[in-house]
Amino acid sequence: MSVGKSGSIRDKVAIVGVGCCKFGENWHQSPEDMIVEAAYEAYADAGIDNPQQQIDAVFCGSVYPSRGTAEVAESLKLFDRPVSLVQNYCATGTDAFRYGVAAVASGMHDTVLVVGYDKPKDRGVSGPSIHMNTARGLPMTPAGWFSLCCARYFETYGAGREDLARIAVKNHHNGTLAPKSMLKKEITVDDVMNARMISWPFTLYDCAAQSDGASVAVITRSDLAKNFRSDPVYVKGVSIALSANPQSDPTFDFLAWKPTIAAAKDVYQQAGITDPMKQIHLAQVHDCFTMTELLTYEDLGFIEKGSARDHIKSGTFALDGELPVNTDGGLKTFGHPTGATGVRMIYENVLQLQGRAGERQVKGATMALSHNLGGAPQTCGLAILGIE
């Protein structure tokens, strides 16, 4: 069965400007403050001096919007044009980007603003809120959902908590090099192992933080891109796949996330990727929990199923490794304002491809991937960008 096959949008759309506010517990900032900070950085990056004339449509991604589309339109005073809100769990940012890309590729709009943002810290909780709105009385915590693969994976492939801890250590290190990350603190494997348990086997340091943030991308038709800047980044592929809920899927094996596998198949086809380990030079993947990143190495086909443990030990995915993953410190150090995350990853990949990533620059990178995984988890968003 061939499903979800996308027509090729490769190289039809380019990113000409990106912006990102500093992520964190932004008590001092409203959503408007963060959206304006990120959008005006992106405008400057794209050389846009009259956004009211130059932006044709806006696609917003937010999971906890207080006022929906108006929140963005009023913040940026972008009126009398299409403004839409996209939601797709933790893949919200990537899906808002996908809508924007499709709108440009179809010829409907020339230049589109993609705005990912969320402000969970206005909800008064330090972690995710806890709901028991179904009768089966299960912990509705993301850590509880994402940890469910660990026991079975550990028993099958011999990995363990230390392997997860090394992922957290790597991402914390990378985060110290990213100006806009929230946590700038080196940690050790022992720190992770000895921290407070949240949902076995995840301690506090295995979990992404909660933060506020906004990130913005300006995209346009490829033939117009050089009017904005000389080194545009091209969209090679973008995909979303939604799979069965692992909690009710009768065939789920607790060793891999199905939506990542499905979305990867589609996006690789769009981008012409046949050997992801070689053709992709860096990746931002969804490390809401360390185990998510571990499984994603395998589910994206970077390495063989079950071999993540060896690659973590040998540093394959470290900043100086064969395929650096989460070069900016990932959700681990940026936190996860849900709608912003996918766009924040695109921000990092654009900087890396344009050689603007400072101390954390991956040399010679021309193809970069970003990945979100959300829900129980059920939905995966992928975007592949290239400079050539």
Binding site: V125, G127, S129, I130, H131, M132, N133, T134, A135, R136, G137, L138, P139, M140, T141, A143, G144, S147, L148, C149, C150, A151, R152, E155, R196, M197, I198, S199, W200, P201, A244, P246, Q247, S248, D249, P250, T251, F254
Partner: protein, 484 residues
């Protein structure tokens, strides 16, 4: 009317696995083998214990053959709403049956048993399930708390091939305040101990038993055993002696192991007596509360073995770590978990999901056999729409596919152990696990399912702001793993 004998055709019991060593109540250290009491866990109450005892009783019984549920308790989770109906659904019984809560008095089970006998006498084909369960709360560290325990017992009453005939009965009812709980009392109240024993208990049990002796033309010698309920071990022993029973003719009252389990006290002792009784034994069975009622139980057959014996339940006890953990589990201290977020389960969702949550039904696709839990409309396996039949999971075995321990989710006994379990018919259920410790968990571990209380509550749409103060804890919706 028929002259077929009417009585007990099957029985079962339930004693929760949690034990509170009595020494802990006053800050002492628990000694190995020291006196203790059985207490309902944080996810248990009278209703869930009733379900557990009934399942024990109904092993091998066609659930479709049960014509009534009579539930005796003083601690129903509801002031208005019938617990027997809830129990019937959890047991997956028919809906054209009679259901009655017998409540308000500790001797409620005597009335329930006699009502069941009368119903079967009136319509001899019938079988009635009589269940008694109680989980009473005394003020922390009060003398009463030392004596109380929690448990449940169940009897299937029918005619024809009975194990024991429920025979002669005599009642001596009496109005006084010895132990009581009024509309707005959180804890049981009790008058002075000597008054309670003398007038509340001894006067009444002597009057009831002597009344029965006179009515039946018997004395203590006519009975092989006296199964006497009462407030404490010493008062019961005194009453037995005054009635003429030698010490070895008194049924062990399980103080120091279980405690006085209220409306389930005499029923639990009766189960214990039946487990070792022989055909021809006559049991003088006394139910105490607002007076005393006495029933004569005449054992006519042997060979019935309950699924779990009282001895089995007693042997599997697990001591609480501290008195504090007991207080938390019974919501007797205001811990952090009381402030948890969420508004609970809307009554409409409870209503729609009863088949899954209370009957514990999965759906089997009639086209391809794929099992689904909870219910869905389109099959995961073959995409057929609405081609399902319900299959009960509650009496099946399963195994753990994967699991985790959630320390973040508020619970009186963290962590919450969550397990993705596969039932032996292929259904998968994502459930909280109970009576388990983290070091026991591994993939492929065998599990069973038990009916337990959920820690959430039903929302009341009209006064949701006051939800905390309403007696609407929704019990008993988790079908969880238990016995190892």
């Amino acid at each position: 009317m028929s002259d077929q004998p009417v009585g007990i055709v099957a029985y079962g019991s339930y004693i929760p696995p949690t034990r509170l060593p009595l020494a802990m109540i006053h800050g002492g250290r628990a000694k190995e083998g020291g006196p203790q009491k059985a207490v309902a866990g944080f996810d248990e109450d009278a209703l869930t214990m009733a379900v557990a005892a009934a399942i024990d009783c109904l092993a091998g019984v066609d659930r479709g053959a049960v014509d009534g549920v009579y539930f005796a308790t003083t601690t129903s989770p509801f002031r208005e709403k019938q617990a027997a109906t809830f129990i019937a659904r959890a047991l997956d019984l028919r809906s054209d049956i009679s259901s009655i809560d017998f409540t308000g008095t500790l001797r409620a089970a005597a009335a329930a048993l006699q009502a069941a006998v009368h119903a079967v006498q009136a319509d001899p084909g019938k079988t009635i399930l009589v269940i008694a369960a109680d989980a009473r709360i005394a003020a922390p560290r009060s003398p009463l708390e030392m004596n109380l325990g929690d448990a449940a017992a169940a009897f299937l009453v029918g005619s024809g091939k009975v194990l024991a005939v429920i025979g002669e009965a005599y009642a001596h009812i009496d109005e006084l305040y010895d132990v009581w709980r009024s509309e707005h009392d959180d804890y049981l109240r009790a008058w002075e101990d000597r008054f309670n024993v003398m007038h509340g208990y001894t006067d009444n049990i002597l009057a009831a038993c002597r009344g029965l002796f006179a009515k039946a033309g018997t004395d203590a010698a006519a009975y092989s055993k006296a199964v006497l309920g009462g407030p404490d071990a010493r008062s019961i022993a005194d009453a037995g002696r005054k009635l003429g029973f030698a010490h070895d003719k008194l049924q062990d009252t399980l103080f120091g192991k279980v405690g006085n389990c209220g409306a389930a006290f005499t029923p639990l002792l009766l189960v214990s007596a039946l487990e070792s009784a022989l055909p021809g034994d006559k049991l003088l069975t006394a139910f105490h509360g607002d007076g005393v009622e006495v029933l004569v139980i005449e054992v006519v057959a042997s060979g019935f073995t309950p699924q779990q014996t009282i001895a089995w339940y007693l042997a599997r006890g697990r001591s609480l770590r501290s008195y504090d953990s007991y207080l938390k589990s019974r919501h007797l201290d205001r811990g952090e978990h009381d402030r948890r977020g969420g508004e609970g389960v809307p009554a409409t969702i409870h209503f729609r999901e009863r088949d899954a949550d209370i009957n514990f039904h999965a759906q089997r696709c009639t086209q391809c056999g794929t099992m689904h839990f909870p219910a869905t409309r389109v099959c995961y396996g073959c995409y057929a729409k609405d081609q399902f039949e319900n299959v009960r999971l509650s009496d099946r075995q399963g195994k753990v596919l994967s699991y985790s321990f959630d320390y973040f989710f508020p619970s009186p006994e963290p962590p919450v152990i969550v397990g993705m379990c596969e039932v032996d018919n292929g259904a998968r259920v994502y459930v909280q696990m109970t009576d388990a410790t983290t070091d026991q968990l591994r993939c492929d571990l065998p599990v069973e399912f038990v009916f337990r209380k959920s820690t959430t509550r039903v929302t009341n749409p009209t006064i949701s702001g006051k939800a905390d103060r309403l007696p609407q804890a929704l019990p008993a919706r988790r079908w969880q793993h238990e016995r190892w």
